[in-house]
Symmetry: C2
Subunit: 605 residues, 2 copies
């Protein structure tokens, strides 16, 4: 509710004049001493020492202390008394160098004050619902509702300024490397993976819908067919999925595609970009080429396809040790094509029963039935399962793990990917307990390659493309498409930074015949392929070059480079995990009139 | 339909290897003579002179002539025979300097050929549905359906490369001037002007909808409240309106907002940008400040708020001449608060009856009842209405228009804006006939200022905001809001280039009280304002700085700088005037399953 003030007060306030600033609040230095200046900004803090009023005046660029002295300008002093935090003011004054003992080295303007000659209140402010400072004590929901105030906090300003710098660095890099920035449509066609498409009803064409892009994949491939050779775009994409902590319904991608390339060419371009970002943001010289690991190796060693390599703590496969074991759990796992995987936690043999129980609970949450543990001591192994193991098994085990007295060995056995995945979770947990990660840990990049092309879905009894249906299989063994498609590897790759997947891409299929074959393997009928992707298939018939590309999750990149832990803190106006904007309360109800115009109605059931 | 080839042929083709190019097709010069090179590209043209085959090999960067000599490499020659236009090939060969008499100065690579050692066909191509050349003979619908082929035409490649350059220039300029690039949401709240909103049903929240932004207006104002001080973004916006020739349902804006500014500050920033673009794209030194004209003057002189000032041909108001005229049409117009407006067409007194009839038809199409014409000769005036005019009126007329013998005077009289608007159309028509515009005409920029704040709508009997409801009225006479709002001018401005509005903006209201007052004048109830804009009004209570900004129609800017005449030719994948993408056939029908997920159904009626 707006409370109207008396008309003449309002008019006076509205007509308030102010001068253009001569400097920002982060700019003045002793060299400006005795200059007349104009500053505009917000009252960050006010101290009224009876006579003299000290104001920290804040804008995006910094904070300057301005001083209102009653004898110097009584009128300004009178107005100054009215000031409260977050008032917007314009001041004219004179720069004064501080005496040496009052210099504040923590702020860039700490060597000067501004003595106020004139003070104008440009706008008043009610008391904000939370303090405008980094260590805010408010719940996130309240901060999101008042996002425009939350965004005044220095930490968010800093993150968004970093994001700004990253946009510029990324575009400059691609521009320099002959990539063309091209915008692709936001209103496009709904695709077969359409279950997660946001749809937009057409007013002009009754009963028809556009879809918002989950990615500009088909368009960037068409741009290669058009001969643009190198394309990039920083672009919004949309996915209407059940939100997870680090997902947003709309997210930003750096989208890249190149013609006449193979994997190494894409890697070279991406590594160049990473060099720039490491250097500019972290002042680090990134060594290239970036380490590569196949999907299979990544799982075997780290139990994930996005391992955090800032610490070691590798998993080790013990199948050869236990293939003839008397311990049924291990033997069965090996003989059924599964895995026995172990992790050596150095120096943890002293873990209490309670500590080990907690680890067991942890892996059970990840789906494991239980956790086998073994404490290594000078006499051998202390473990509940020790009695099931032969002596040479125990020796082999210790030897093959290079375990030492005082170590704790943790083992899971079972189906391969599932078990390794649980071990991956355990690895992260142990790294936390062992405090292997610290703020000084150097960031670590990794390429993961040779992903499986297809995933078999037990439920629907068919293959799905692990990346997307346009991903090229490895050409060396493309014949497997006809005989054993599940074994085929893709020319796909992910870029992993500190355990986060920050980019993923592939070399694409550029032959319409191979693409048709691929659709067939995926159980997409000719008719369906024609209807959904006809234009892409058609395009391939008119001279499509070999091409490939990659897409970066920009929000996540900003998060990591900013040292933040929440995607939401990298986005000016984010949505909650349930896809709601608490600030403007969208999505919201619309009028019957609007729905009528769009030829839709809301379902009753 | 894909015709499957024999399996072994397909596999051989799919596995085809090619080398990374050493050069692009626009790069080789005599200094490369005798080098071994690899080029990848498309067959632009093939000439088979019985023995020797000449191929123009094309990529984005240029065209290089490659020569396949049968005796030099019989195998390559055999493959070369199969080539047709738009085949994708990779060649290895040796650069050969051309003899002087074969040098082609028109292309950058015209001094060399490449003699082919090895030739690989990377992909075949069917005959395209139209020729890949600038002077294409196909209808636009066919070109849009095969947009990926249309985009191979040099003129479209050139326009999109210019667009790429403009993105970089614009962002570099704003970055250099401390503007922060911030992305605003695409999924937002439907606003009162919501009739033209594209809506997006929420899957998670039944019966609720997001809207796509018609502009990021509220967000950029909130960013000013947040203290970001200077914001910019090149951003997609959406409007579901009946399409006109130069409109697209999704369009791109350069969006700008600044704090602690008045009109001159915004102008200074924009003029700096224009200087950069004029210099970089047109090699012109733009003189600043850019000419300014009030809305009233623009209409009076040019009959439009976006006059093309590359030619003069000013309108002249004759009210003072005719206020006591015996010619009722003129006198009534003057006395009813209307206008009598004239245009002198120099040297057109010789126009035939037929020519004048065509002009009459032209203004009738614009809504005029008829056109008054007068031919000036040495004896005075020859006109069907001459007999109604007194002698001193005729003399005054000629004098006040500075008309000369041989000139043709064209006059319309009636309601002010309507009549001036028709005269504006007539002015453009006469400029065409007089060929006042030619390719060498220097581009002309103009600020139009002092727009009316409000427009009265006869039908709904209420005021509408001429720009939008956040536009600040002129503060000098803000009291008119209470007494005679229709007379109030806005602190709004448009930037006009060659008769096209390329940008529009305003200083905004930053007082929640004035904003509330404005909503009241616009007939938006407190409840409605609260519901729709509550978050913005609320934000204004916590210290909103004075702020203003501007938004550029980027597509139109590219069109003008590229010298194009259609917005569609500046967009990679445009939609038709009925908002359809002919390439992917969107909007399209979606499955009942999808609609169910979104809790909507299509209306029966």
């Amino acid at each position: 509710m707006i409370n109207f003030r008396p008309q003449n007060y309002l008019m006076k306030k509205i007509k308030m004049k102010f001068k253009r600033r001569t400097h920002t609040c982060g700019e003045l230095k002793p060299t400006n001493a005795d200059e007349k200046v104009v500053l505009n900004g917000w009252v960050n803090r006010k101290r009224d020492l009876g006579g003299v009023i000290f104001i920290e005046l804040r804008d995006r660029y910094g904070v300057t202390q301005v001083i209102i002295e009653p004898e110097h300008n009584p009128e300004a002093h009178q107005i100054g008394k009215e000031l409260r935090n977050e008032f917007v003011v314009s001041i004219e004054g004179t720069v004064r160098q501080r005496p040496d003992d009052q210099i504040n080295k923590d702020v860039t303007t700490g060597e000067i004050d501004v003595i106020v000659d004139k003070l104008v209140i440009l706008n008043e402010a009610e008391t904000p619902p939370f303090s405008i400072k980094d260590e805010v004590d408010a719940f996130e929901d309240l901060r999101l509702k008042y996002r425009y105030l939350d965004l005044r906090r220095p930490v968010l300003q800093k993150t968004l300024l970093l994001r700004h710098r990253m946009y510029q660095l990324v575009r400059k890099y691609f521009d320099k490397n002959s990539f063309v920035e091209i915008e692709t449509p936001v209103l496009m066609k709904s695709t077969p993976e359409g279950a997660r498409d946001y749809l937009v009803p057409s007013r002009i064409h009754k009963g028809k819908f556009y879809a918002l892009p989950q990615s500009p994949q088909t368009y960037k491939q068409l741009l290669m067919v058009s001969g643009f050779d190198r394309y990039f775009q920083i672009v919004k994409c949309f996915r209407d999925e059940d939100q997870r902590a680090d997902r947003q319904p709309e997210f930003t991608q750096i989208d890249v595609e190149m013609s006449f390339v193979d994997i190494d060419d894409v890697f070279e371009i991406v590594e160049g970009l990473m060099k720039v970002l490491f250097k500019d943001i972290w002042q680090l010289e990134l060594q290239t080429p970036i380490q590569r690991l196949t999907f299979d190796d990544a799982f075997e060693k780290y139990g994930t396809d996005k391992p955090d390599l800032r610490f070691d703590l590798e998993l080790q496969t013990l199948n050869s040790v236990f293939e003839k074991s008397g311990f049924k759990v291990f033997k069965d796992a090996v003989n059924n094509g599964g895995v026995v995987s172990a992790l050596v936690a150095p120096g943890c043999a002293a873990y209490s029963r309670n500590q080990i129980d907690n680890l067991t609970t942890h892996v059970k949450k990840l789906g494991a039935k239980g956790l086998v543990w073994m404490k290594v001591n000078e006499n051998g192994i202390d473990s509940p399962v020790a009695k099931f193991l032969a002596d040479d098994e125990k020796q082999n085990l210790i030897k093959s793990l290079s375990a030492k007295s005082g170590d704790l060995i943790l083992i899971l056995a079972g189906k391969r990917l599932k078990t390794l995945n649980q071990m991956g979770g355990l690895r992260i947990e142990m790294a936390k307990r062992l405090e292997l990660l610290n703020p000084d840990s150097k960031p670590k990049l990794l390429w993961v390659t040779d992903f499986p092309l297809l995933e078999w879905d037990e439920e629907t009894n068919r293959f799905y493309a692990m990346h997307h249906p346009f991903t090229s299989p490895r050409l060396e063994d493309v014949e497997l498409l006809d005989t054993d498609p599940g074994k085929l590897k893709a020319r796909a790759y992910d870029l992993v930074l500190n355990g986060h997947e920050i980019a993923g891409g592939s070399i694409r299929i550029h032959s319409s015949e191979l693409q048709a074959k691929m659709f067939k393997v995926l159980g997409i009928s000719k008719g369906e392929a024609e209807k959904k992707f006809g234009f892409l298939m058609n395009a391939f018939k008119y001279g499509a070059p070999p091409h490939g590309g990659i897409a970066f999750g920009f929000d996540r990149m900003v998060m990591i480079f900013a040292g933040e832990t929440s995607i939401r803190d990298t986005i000016a106006f984010p949505k909650t995990t349930s896809a709601v904007s608490l600030m403007d309360d969208s999505p919201s109800e619309v009028s019957e009139e609007q729905l009528k115009e769009l030829h839709i109605r809301i379902r009753e059931e």
